[in-house]
């Protein structure tokens, strides 16, 4: 799922009116933008990659029929955070890599030289795999320093986080606020 969509329908409140639907949807969109911008940075304290600010910038309003509109968030991973789910490696991949160090936060292992899927291991590789026997987890470490940079896991389950979006009541209030501003 690539996009998270919030549908704003004024059917029970007002007669069909595109202008008021736009105003209401804009109110919802503004609330979602403020909400996403205010979300805390990553829990591990790594320097922020601006993920939620990016998500806020990706918010867009799509006009619907009559007095409805949809607010979409086109940012990878936002729908997954909201709905929850289990992530597994792509076909051909062996493990997911979770960053353990600030220097690799927001950076896939394949961004490192010589560590691409299908590459044969070489002495020039910056990273090397360390997978303890009988362990479900492995590590990617920096070859020179031995620092553990990534945790390797077969899958990751992300719990649904409904706080990604404002609560339903807040969304309704925001739609009403947009309409009230329009008719003020």
């Amino acid at each position: 799922m690539l996009r998270l969509t919030v549908k704003v329908t004024l059917a029970d409140l007002l007669p069909p009116d595109n202008v008021l639907a736009e105003a209401g949807a804009r109110g919802v969109s503004n609330l979602i933008v403020r909400h996403l911008r205010a979300r805390p940075a990553n829990r591990r304290g790594f320097p922020s990659s601006g993920y939620w600010a990016d998500a806020a910038e990706s918010v867009s309003v799509k006009p619907g029929s009559g007095n409805s509109a949809a607010v979409e968030i086109s940012k990878e991973g936002v729908a997954l955070h909201y709905e929850g789910g289990t992530v597994r490696p792509d076909a051909g991949g062996k493990a997911l890599a979770i960053p353990l160090d600030a220097s690799v936060y927001g950076k896939k292992p394949s961004e490192w030289s010589g560590f691409r899927r299908g590459d044969e291991p070489s002495d020039d590789d910056v990273l090397s795999v360390f997978w303890p026997k009988n362990s479900a987890h492995g590590f990617l470490k920096e070859r020179d320093t031995g620092n553990l940079l990534y945790l390797l896991v077969p899958s990751v389950t992300i719990r649904a986080d409904r706080s990604v979006l404002p609560e339903d009541g807040e969304l309704l209030d925001a739609a009403q606020e947009g309409i009230m501003e329009a008719v003020a």
Binding site: L2, A23, G27, S48, A53, I73, S74, E76, G178, E181
Partner: protein, 411 residues
């Protein structure tokens, strides 16, 4: 149109000029070009544009986008500059993470800024939220002095529809364009600025004296507002779009500006009847049926040298001198591959690949003889391992264009 569509509509423009020189190109042309300072290879720019569009659509993450961009650079045979000040960490190195991030972020943020601006200025959105506030959305270690820039921009536009005391102005105030390094009324207002906007409702806009009581279309301001704090706000949306168009109209090819554009961008730009367009835009127009034909410039020296090196007779090579070619979509839909070997695995081009036609004509990788002595087969390698193959007649121009699949059949 989505932010991703906006990126994909930009014409690929390769050039060796740097960002300072690019800033001398009018906003109207820059807005419609996908470029990166000193990047000349349009195949690389095509891959960069695709990565940026996928990121804007939420279809990929920044790390995967950078990997795709580095793959394109590697496939194009890019070698990072090795001078000390341009080394692995330098911004001039296209493989550098910071440089790739700058390309991605600037393009994605501009496209999203444009999309949000257009959505924020629909009749309903403007009625409810006629103004916006400049706000910090990302922290920066060395923030720019936005107070000084706001005052400078406000003074430059006579504070039309803008507050002196707060970073708030009507969405249609000219202050936003004046504030922007890129000449656009939406964020980003500068490279890596970390600044964005948030809507301000009608009631607050009235309170700030930006609107008359009862006014709400964002185009008027209060005559009873504090002296000098606001002035009549001009409608900027129509004038913004008109301005982008106006900046690229009325330019003659022999004017200083026209000569600068031709000298800098060669046959990538088309100046005709006072209207300036990127060649990539013309190709998109032809593909969409908005124009019948796109014409490309005279045969380049590089093409003729490749033809001579490829074993083409001197007479035929000479016959290409001064020859121009043109492209019409309908012709190639009907006749695309009929001049090529039916035993070879050819495909029709996808729309993005048609934009490589000027590059194939300007700087092909190979020009080879075919059975007809008046015709040559020009080839341009694509970054996916395939190649564009065109048959060109030295008297009648382009006869066909196809894509030869990469070894293994994947294109």
């Amino acid at each position: 149109m989505t932010a991703a569509d906006k990126i994909l509509k930009k014409a690929l423009v390769g050039s060796g000029i740097d960002s300072r020189q690019w800033s001398a190109v009018q906003a109207g042309l820059r807005d419609r070009a996908f470029f990166s300072a000193t990047v000349e290879d349009v195949r690389v720019l095509g891959a960069f544009r695709d990565a940026a569009a996928r990121l804007a659509a939420g279809e990929t993450d920044p790390s995967s986008a950078r990997i795709a961009m580095r793959d394109a650079l590697a496939a194009a045979g890019y070698r990072p500059p090795d001078a000390e000040d341009q080394g692995p960490g330098g911004i001039r190195n296209l493989m550098n993470e910071r440089r790739l991030d700058l390309i991605l972020k600037t393009n994605v943020q501009q496209a999203r800024g444009w999309a949000q601006f257009m959505e924020g200025t629909t009749p309903g959105a403007l009625l409810a939220y006629p103004a916006q506030r400049l706000v910090r959305v990302r922290q920066r270690r060395m923030p720019r002095d936005w107070t000084a820039r706001w005052k400078e921009a406000g003074d430059a536009v006579g504070w039309q529809g803008a507050c002196r005391d707060e970073f708030v102005a009507l969405k249609l105030s000219p202050i936003w364009i004046e504030l922007s390094r890129f000449g656009t009324p939406y964020p980003p207002f500068d490279f890596n600025s970390g600044m964005g906007v948030e809507d301000v409702g009608k009631r607050k806009a009235r309170e700030l004296g930006l609107l008359e009581d009862g006014g709400g279309d964002g185009k008027t301001s209060s005559p009873s507002a504090p002296q000098g704090s606001v002035a009549q706000a001009a409608p900027v949306v129509p004038s913004f779009n008109a301005n982008l168009q106006a900046t690229v109209e009325g330019i003659r090819g022999d004017s200083d500006e026209g000569q600068f554009l031709t000298r800098t961008f060669g046959d990538q730009i088309d100046i005709r009847n006072g209207v300036v367009k990127w060649k990539g835009e013309l190709i998109q127009d032809v593909l969409a049926g908005r124009a019948k034909r796109a014409e490309f410039g005279e045969c380049s020296r590089a093409f003729m040298e490749k033809a001579a090196a490829g074993g083409i007779s001197p007479e035929t090579v000479q016959a290409f001198s001064g020859r121009k070619i043109s492209f019409s979509h309908q012709f190639f839909v009907e006749h695309g591959g009929k001049h090529l070997d039916p035993n070879e695995p050819y495909d029709h081009l996808v729309p993005e690949e048609f934009e490589l036609l000027p590059a194939l004509w300007r700087s092909p990788d190979r020009v080879l003889p075919i059975r007809d002595p008046n015709r040559v087969q020009a080839e341009l390698d694509t970054l996916d391992g395939g190649k564009l193959v065109a048959v060109i007649d030295c008297r009648n121009g382009l006869k066909s264009i196809q894509k030869r699949k990469a070894p293994g059949g994947i294109t």
